[in-house]
Symmetry: C2
Subunit: 462 residues, 2 copies
């Protein structure tokens, strides 16, 4: 069964108890660890590594595991923890671990190392290995190339089904997946694909070229990783092949890595929705200085944007001074407009990210928002009217109710349209964050509220 937090804590103290003994029993530990899944050992080690005094314990645990297992566990650790471990190991030890890691994880770790260490390790590698690592390490972060693995099963064009099955059995121990196979021409071009399932039910003497699917869904090596995840999800793929500009197969992105990308992309989108820049690690681990930087940019920009609200208020200073009761409703009105507008913007941004809403749907979305936001505004105006009467009498109630409808309607339409406008100008629609939208609506709301107030008060007194 999968472990929950509590059992993980128990496992951790159990391991620490044994390790803190004068002569810990390695065989007992090995036996216990054999029952635990790599992902779970990884989580326990991650916590140990965070506590400096437990780093040695973590290293002992890795040492007890077989190299293959240790490499596997290491792959589950966040980059920072990997670095701490690797910092304590000799080049020879690191090399053995790197060899056992999947090619995608090997590159990730390699890219984290300092240049000196990288050079030292490269010098000790066989030529073929070195070239492969250098090539994979050269792909830009956030692209298909950076998340793919080169441990795929390639079948040569012209092979028979039974030859292909033999090849699958041979490569099974090293390949990331053996369930989707790729047929290559002599030049290494990707010319077809087939599933192991297809292969197993095919006639053993048939040639793979006759049973493969020729129209292969594929991604270019510089394709954005979120697009890779989207394709894997859309076509329910086990793995997506990645090709270079000459249509040569250079790697595959497996479903589990695509799922990890989708999760981190969702996190990024959620953070962007609050004007937080892309964090390079989880919020509990990212350096404070980086967290500050990723939050401060928009906060300061929005301070200045907020000055427009102030300017609006300054412009209407006379009417405010004459009727201070109006200030009572100011946070309420601009807050409500901001909330409704942020909702509208978020619905569009997420709809665009999942492919539910396209640029061409703009007018349809506008019509829908007009109806929904109008109803929302009316409901909220009705809710606020009694309070308006109580605090300021009929005139103020009328001002507040009318302002509420207008601000909510206007704010929602602004929030809804902004992502489309951004997309149109090739800016990420997710820039239409809640803070940006509410700030814009604050300023607009001030103008609407006091304009309506001026008009109605002039009417009443006139």
């Amino acid at each position: 069964m999968s472990l929950n937090d509590e059992t993980l804590q128990e496992l951790k103290s159990e391991l620490l108890d044994e390790l803190e003994k004068e002569t810990p029993s390695k065989s007992l530990l090995a036996e216990r660890l054999a029952e635990i899944r790599s992902a779970d050992i990884g989580e326990v080690l991650e916590e140990m590594i965070e506590e400096d005094e437990e780093l040695t314990a973590a290293l002992t645990v890795l040492d007890i595991l077989s190299t293959e297992r240790a490499a596997n566990v290491l792959g589950y650790l966040p980059g920072e923890s990997q670095l701490e471990v690797v910092g304590e190991l000799s080049d020879a030890q690191v090399l053995t671990l790197l060899e056992e890691m999947g090619s995608d994880e090997r590159v990730d770790l390699f890219n984290l190392l300092g240049e000196d260490r990288r050079e030292a390790l490269l010098r000790r590698m066989a030529r073929q290995e070195r070239e492969d690592l250098k090539r994979l390490a050269s792909y830009q972060e956030g692209t298909a190339g950076a998340i793919m693995t080169s441990d795929y099963v390639a079948i040569a064009s012209g092979m028979t089904v039974s030859q292909a099955l033999m090849r699958v059995r041979q490569t099974a121990p090293d390949a990331e997946t053996v369930y989707q196979l790729y047929v290559l021409s002599l030049e290494g071009e990707l010319i077809g694909t087939m599933s192991l399932r297809q292969l197993m039910v095919a006639r053993p003497g048939a040639v793979v070229d006759d049973i493969m699917i020729k129209d292969v869904i594929r991604a270019a090596v510089d394709e954005a990783q979120e697009e890779v995840a989207r394709i894997v999800a859309r076509y329910d793929l086990l793995a997506l092949p990645v090709i270079d500009t000459d249509n040569r197969l250079v790697g595959i992105v497996t479903h589990d890595d695509a799922m990890d990308v989708a999760e981190s992309e969702a996190t990024e989108d959620i953070h962007k929705g609050m004007s937080i820049g892309q964090l390079e690690d989880g919020v509990s681990r990212v350096p404070l200085w980086s967290l500050y930087r990723k939050r401060v940019t928009w906060l300061v920009l929005l301070v200045f944007a907020n000055l427009f609200s102030g300017a609006g208020i300054a412009y209407f200073e006379d009417i405010i001074a004459a009727q201070v009761a109006l200030v009572f409703f100011l946070p309420l009105l601009i807050g409500s407009g901001g909330n409704a507008g942020a909702q509208a913007a978020t619905l569009m941004v997420r709809g665009m990210a999942t492919g539910d809403v396209g640029v061409k749907d703009w007018s349809k979305m506008l019509g829908r928002e007009l109806l929904v936001a109008g109803s929302l505004g009316l409901t909220m105006a009705i809710a606020v009217t009694p309070i308006g009467i109580m605090r300021g009498g009929d005139a103020v109630a009328a001002i507040v109710a009318l302002s509420m409808v207008t601000i909510v309607l206007f704010g929602s339409l602004m929030g809804m349209c902004l992502p489309f406008v951004l997309e149109r100008f090739k800016v990420d629609p997710a820039t239409a964050s809640a803070p940006l939208v509410t700030t814009l609506i604050d300023a607009t709301g001030v103008l609407i509220y006091f304009t309506i107030a001026t008009a109605i008060l002039a009417q009443v007194s006139g």
Copy 2:
């Protein structure tokens, strides 16, 4: 290659052009459709069905496809579109389609139908089929039971490797995946699992019980679907077996369905972050009335919460009347506090959802936020000071700068703590939405601002 929006539009008009001819060539259409993937045909049909006058065209396309293909395409349509199609078909036609669908998609469609239709269809089914469908349809939405499929490959305990391989070949056409196999006892209990890869490299005469993994990661049938997705992602599974209370295997959730769940859960979280309730369909398709309902609840609640800000302002009416310039900075200060607080809350809520932050991390997070929010507050105070001097002189500048630091710091800490407090009281931490957090900070900000203003102005004039 995967199709983009533009090519999909072209494909759609191509199909419509042919279908609008007096005698459309079915063989030509069939040939063209054979080249297109089911997911892409689904997307084109979805658009056709949305346009009422193209519904017939969509039906013709489905009719041209083989039943297997049509069932497959139907599975890619959103529920609403499926209903429109099924509404035009006879019971016999629906039955044939249902038979060809995967068991999970079959149940989803079945659950959407009206009771009369369901009864009519059940009456025409074979007993075994009927029982299976009724059982699957009885699981509550949002649980493992509701997203699992019963089309898995079961291996009987005691079988040899070659018998098991034979079984894989036999079930290959119908099973959702043949790459992960489940070993069952005579009573149907799940006692082990193995991958097809393991099976292929094992000695043909070996008994499966000797090579299977006995400690199977599994989920209970009433486990929440987001937990299912999390387990699949955490352990990089191809499929997660689902068991009933007697440990009997009742279904599996495959990686692609887990990925879909993860996506819709992310959407739900993003919407919740703006106080939008769970939508039953994409934002472009959900009925307007439902969209209104899911947005209005919190908006109206927050109108009343916003009254606290108003009450704060009313309490300080005298100082406002005496120094109207203070109102200039009001939206700026409470807006900034709200933005910083919403950031802090969002970081925690997402951290908790991905498992990066646990309840036990509370004090560590508080310490980190104290430092980051303090720095943010100082930066923003520095940014706003010159404007304070320009608009109101030294005293106002001091009030505004001091208020900024206090409000940003206080707001961020509130935003950060709220998700932990909610979690502690077993309320979904995602309830700490941006609108809720900003509204709370608005009220607090008003109090902080005018309290500081009163104190400093008394000092200056005194």
